[in-house]
Point group: C2
Chain length 252, copies 2
């Protein structure tokens, strides 16, 4: 796969993300469907203009506010999340002072081990103090079947607010049904996770997290003013406008 080492390359970021997935695949961190899921995200990001739209920036501020004011916030990560933005997730957990829980849809001991090892190596390298959960599940998410329901009682089970980037629709709905504030990061504003989440950020994961980590907490908006439908509609409008502009380019 092509690597663009030059950050000024127009496709630098996109190629960097692919490179991160390639490395993670070699380490056994990813599900079989990981690359296909990433490709779907790439298509939406292309339509969004590979940029953070204003409504996504605002949703990111609401999300950070919700995490900051939660009693038991937790960041849930899967294979693609660790691959694409493991460092940023750890930095966010350290900043908020909350645990990260590895929680994957296609759960196997090998994948769990690969993900926990990778996160612990990142944590050591970054010199952060973050509890990394997931190795010892002692609870289940009601409404889900089999290994995908497993979680930790001191992590996802007791969380009042949970960040679930790139989450499967069933699990997102199950977490919402538990009464939690569920924060979704997803490039498809039409996905079940995007629609069912409490707060949805339609943005590329690493871009969103970099934005979040640079935000000043004093100026975050009150959660009362978050408008879920408007957030999703704005993202759809941006995609549709992007299409109009892209097609007019072809007429030149």
């Amino acid at each position: 796969m092509e690597h663009a080492a030059d950050p000024s390359h127009p496709r630098y970021r996109s190629l960097l993300m692919r490179h991160r997935l390639e490395i993670a695949a070699k380490k056994g961190m990813l599900a079989d469907s990981a690359m296909i899921a990433h490709g779907r995200g790439e298509a939406y990001d292309y339509l969004l203009g590979e940029t953070t739209i204003p409504s996504a920036d605002l949703a990111t501020r609401f999300a950070l506010r919700a995490l900051m004011k939660a009693e038991h916030p937790v960041l849930s990560v899967n294979g693609n999340v660790v691959a694409l933005a493991g460092d940023e997730m750890l930095k966010l957990a350290d900043w908020i002072g909350c645990p990260i829980e590895v929680n994957i849809f296609y759960r196997t001991p090998e994948r769990m081990e690969a993900l926990l090892t990778d996160l612990n190596e990142r944590k050591k390298r970054l010199g952060l103090h973050v509890d990394i959960l997931g190795a010892s599940p002692d609870a289940t998410i009601p409404g889900l079947k089999g290994p995908r329901a497993k979680c930790e009682s001191k992590g996802i089970l007791r969380a009042d607010t949970i960040l679930v980037p790139l989450e499967d629709g069933d699990r997102c709905e199950a977490l919402v049904a538990m009464g939690k504030t569920v924060i979704v990061i997803d490039l498809n504003p039409l996905s079940r996770s995007s629609r069912r989440g409490s707060i949805t950020i339609v943005d590329e994961l690493s871009r969103c997290l970099e934005n979040m980590l640079a935000m000043e907490t004093e100026t975050l908006p009150s959660l009362d003013s978050y408008e879920h439908d408007k957030t999703l509609q704005d993202a759809l409008n941006a995609i549709v406008d992007g299409m109009k502009n892209k097609f007019s380019e072809t007429k030149e």
Copy 2:
């Protein structure tokens, strides 16, 4: 990866295509970026409603007409094309009476060998008589550099009409620049291949080929009436309409 053996399953076809890619990946037929490219296609197909829209059906008729009346038609195939619709491409080549040429972007001897072997096995199983080219490139496509320019003089080089499903934009443009009638099958109506192609079918590959193989050749439209911009605009409109409908579903 999940397999839906039951054709009545709403995601049967999508899972079948993933399954075909999985098998091809194990045989070494695919580029590293194959799964990501497929995921991008899935996103567009989802927005199209996973159906053949009327303008795509019409474009398929124009494409078949162009192939039927060509002096030297050629079907160009890459890894994803062989994986997703190798049988259908062979049946089409047999019907039209033209060669298939394996022509891949990331050309390595191992991938070429894997693809040629797979196609020859399919041909034998189907009992078809089709020339499968690509093993002995003796020409180059002007304007391309390195291994990706390689082609055969009795295949792509001399072709007047060429079917290039899922083709890279650079190569599509290079073939158009050679004066050929280039028929593109691509789910993204905004891609460079879609825009630059002579005739573009915005449809899922295997669905399009099944449609094409079932068409009656007596009723095909005259090529004069093909409208390229309208074809692409119709596909964009279908995507935008699909978004409107999908979002209104969320309000229920």
